[in-house]
């Protein structure tokens, strides 16, 4: 599903403008439409609950244990933040394929500066975040100001980032990062859940607030749906796209900090394998909560829905290729069902 398709679904699904009372004859149709929208809005959450129930019935001792859920919530915080970062440029119509490399770069920067060079951990973290902003700025300059497709630019920057990671880390895993960071990421727990989960939750709330309650969020949406129209309406499209790409890289760098805090080490290939799951979660998230839009809560539901499935399959001891089938199959199915559901509502409306 392309960004345009997702946004097209959004344009069809969401009702914009002031609410007006429909004429009496249109009321049943409107009710059916609202019911349909609600169904679509919560369908993924409902399937998630069913999934938990099925795995819970199969493995009540292990799957339904508090520790399993605590582990599930804590371990996906990195993916949550990376995905939320990707959602920003996706909303404004750009891709960021360099996010995985930025995650690796951030993690490796901290490991090299702290474990090898003896920098204080806070300074190493600061440097890592700065690297994220620098990469994001380069992405933004070349994409927005030079006018090259973000897909190509971020792919190239991702490759450069990976090269730098291998270079500074000498192609090796670097361990021995200060315990203070580990303590701040997974060492501290709230209700038994590693604090990393709450960092992800905080990011989700910030992105939700941005999209739903600020004019900037609205302008981002307009920019993504039609940059020309947005520009003619007075939206500073250049600045919006620029900021989204920088913010995406910054959040990828934050995810890198969490990665090091979780592992107390950095390996050169940490981030790249996460890009596709993050993209999958971002697009799957457009089928939930705010159907058709990249949205914060839909994203977090999608991440945890997918990881619930993977965890359940792993606990059952199912061969690992089934995890790929689950990941890909769920994504395609969810998006297709969302599209079909939408067509039905449109047909109902037309009749």
């Amino acid at each position: 599903m392309s960004i345009e398709t997702a946004e097209a679904v959004a344009a069809e699904v969401t009702v914009s403008g002031p609410e007006v009372d429909p004429p009496p004859a249109a009321k049943p149709r409107e009710t059916a439409r609202r019911r349909g929208n609600s169904l679509q809005k919560w369908a993924l959450v409902a399937i998630w609950i069913v999934l938990i129930a099925v795995f819970g019935a199969l493995m009540p001792q292990s799957f339904l244990s508090a520790q399993n859920f605590q582990s599930l919530l804590g371990s996906q915080a990195i993916l949550v933040i990376l995905t939320l970062g990707l959602v920003l440029p996706l909303t404004t119509g750009d891709y960021d394929l360099s996010a995985g490399a930025v995650l690796s770069l951030s993690a490796m920067t901290i490991a090299v500066l702290n474990a090898q060079q003896g920098w204080p951990i806070w300074l190493a973290v600061l440097a890592a975040l700065l690297f994220g902003v620098v990469v994001g700025t380069i992405n933004a300059v070349v994409t927005v100001l030079v006018g090259i497709d973000s897909l190509i630019v971020t792919l190239g920057m991702g490759s450069i980032g990976t090269g730098v990671v291998l270079w500074i880390g000498n192609s090796q895993t670097i361990s021995g990062v200060a315990d203070a960071l580990v303590e701040a990421v997974v060492g501290t727990r709230l209700f038994g859940v590693p604090i990393a989960f709450y960092y992800g939750l905080l990011c989700c709330i910030v992105v939700w607030y941005l999209f739903e309650h600020t004019s900037l969020g609205r302008r981002m949406l307009f920019t993504g749906r039609g940059p020309r129209v947005a520009r003619l309406s007075g939206v500073n499209v250049t600045r919006i796209r620029f900021g989204s790409l920088v913010a995406s890289s910054f959040l990828a760098a934050v995810a890198g900090v969490l990665y090091v805090g979780t592992s107390s080490a950095a390996n050169p290939g940490a981030g790249e394998p996460m890009v596709l799951p993050a993209m999958a979660a971002a697009f799957l998230g457009t089928t939930a909560i705010r159907p058709g839009r990249f949205n914060a809560w839909g994203t977090i539901v999608a991440v945890y829905f997918l990881s619930t499935g993977i965890t359940g399959l792993a606990l059952l001891g199912i061969p690992s290729f089934v995890q790929n089938l689950f990941y890909g199959g769920t994504l395609v199915l969810a998006v297709v069902l969302a599209k079909l559901a939408r067509r039905r509502y449109v047909r109902d409306d037309a009749s």
Partner: protein, 379 residues
């Protein structure tokens, strides 16, 4: 439009150059000295490892059934989508049944977050022991392993490190591989096959920790038995094999037409090395030898073409060794210092013993199985 094209070209070129400089790190060609090659010593080393391996008991016999009764070992493989790892895990489950100890496996695709979740699951399911199988790097999950240790669950790391490498102190016991000897065997083959005139390209993959000892073994053997042999090294990390190995081989052969052997640290790299040799037009002049014992690569040895020798390991014996170490811990015994994981050098002369087509784990005899059963007082 033209400006865009220039921009794209510049970006791609910059990325390519930087990535090329960093990932495919290479060292200049070296030879230690001009001394004569000790072909007899190299051949003697090879002869020792071309036979079916004998079993060496890892330690005193003990009642394994009693140690494992009612216990569950939580097995965390490094990456279940890798055939060698999957075979080891399957073998572990099967051999554990013979002993009467339960095994719960956590299949995964090698992501650090999945390892972390698996380790947490070992705690939540109250496993009696956590076994890291075939390369779960403890350094990447140290905080989680500390939680395991705090929960009183012992940890065993199997087939991850060589004896000489730094071992993570959170882990209770290790089953170390003899990766240095594997490297020595590869070099010994190149020395004898070229009659002491080896000019080799060593391909490492340093993102995997056991690539280091394999390469160390090669260097040590060249230094000991063929100081005049020429060695050049290039590192290509795992994720880049598909995109960089072939071109690395091709350009290295173009730069130095005297290279007569390519020695990758893992035989999975041969998939990309062979096309590199072919596209450089060096078939019949340049050969390859490596380590692991993947069946498809052993089939190439039987064909007697480019790949001339593979040092193989038996995943079933690795599984038995991991189980032995785990049961010793559960029995309250001292862990074995050396489980004596076996190696076998497969050449055109003995590769048929690995099966036609080759099968993973075949060609190592049955001595290990009978030996472990005796050690566990089950035979």
């Amino acid at each position: 439009m033209l400006n865009k094209m220039w921009g794209v070209t510049a970006l791609v070129l910059t990325g390519t150059i930087l990535a090329g400089c960093s990932s495919g790190t290479s060292t200049p060609a070296v030879s230690v000295s001009a001394g004569p090659a000790n072909l007899a010593a190299a051949q003697a080393l090879l002869d020792e490892y071309t036979k079916v391996p004998a079993f060496t008991s890892p330690g005193p016999a003990f009642d394994a059934a009693a140690a494992g009764a009612g216990k569950t070992i939580f097995a965390l493989p490094s990456n279940s989508s890798i055939s060698f790892v999957e075979q080891t895990t399957t073998a572990l489950e099967e051999i554990a049944k013979e002993v009467g100890v339960g095994v719960q496996t956590y299949p995964n695709q090698g992501q650090t977050s999945q390892w972390g979740q698996g380790i947490d699951t070992a705690i939540s399911t109250k496993a009696d022991l956590l076994q890291l199988v075939n390369g779960v790097d403890p350094d990447l999950v140290t905080p989680q392993l500390k939680n395991v240790a705090a929960a009183g669950i012992p940890i065993v790391d199997t087939h991850d490190l060589d004896f000489g490498q730094a071992h993570n102190s959170v882990v209770d016991a290790f089953v170390d591989g003899d990766f240095v000897t594997a490297g020595k065997l590869i070099a010994a083959w190149a020395i004898t096959a070229t009659k002491g005139k080896a000019n080799v390209l060593i391909l490492t993959s340093n993102n995997y920790k056991n690539s280091f000892p394999v390469a160390d073994g090669m260097r040590a053997e060249f230094a000991a038995d063929c100081p005049s042999c020429i060695q050049k090294e290039v590192n290509v990390n795992g994720p880049d094999w598909a995109t960089k190995l072939q071109s690395t081989v091709q350009t290295s052969l173009t730069a130095d037409p005297g290279i007569n052997y390519i020695l990758p640290t893992f035989d999975g790299m041969l998939t990309y090395v062979i096309p590199g040799i072919r596209s450089a037009g060096a078939v019949g002049k340049v050969f390859a030898a490596s380590y692991n014992g993947s069946p498809d690569m052993l089939d190439l040895v039987r064909d007697n073409g480019i790949v001339r020798m593979i040092v193989g390991e038996n995943p079933a014996q690795i599984a038995a060794a991991g189980l032995d170490q785990s049961l010793r811990i559960l029995a309250g015994l001292e862990p074995s210092a050396d489980e004596h994981l076996v190696l076998r050098a497969f050449t055109a002369d003995n590769v048929a013993e690995a099966g036609t087509p080759a099968k993973l784990g075949q060609g190592y005899g049955d001595a290990w199985h009978a030996g472990y059963l005796t050690t566990w007082e089950l035979g």
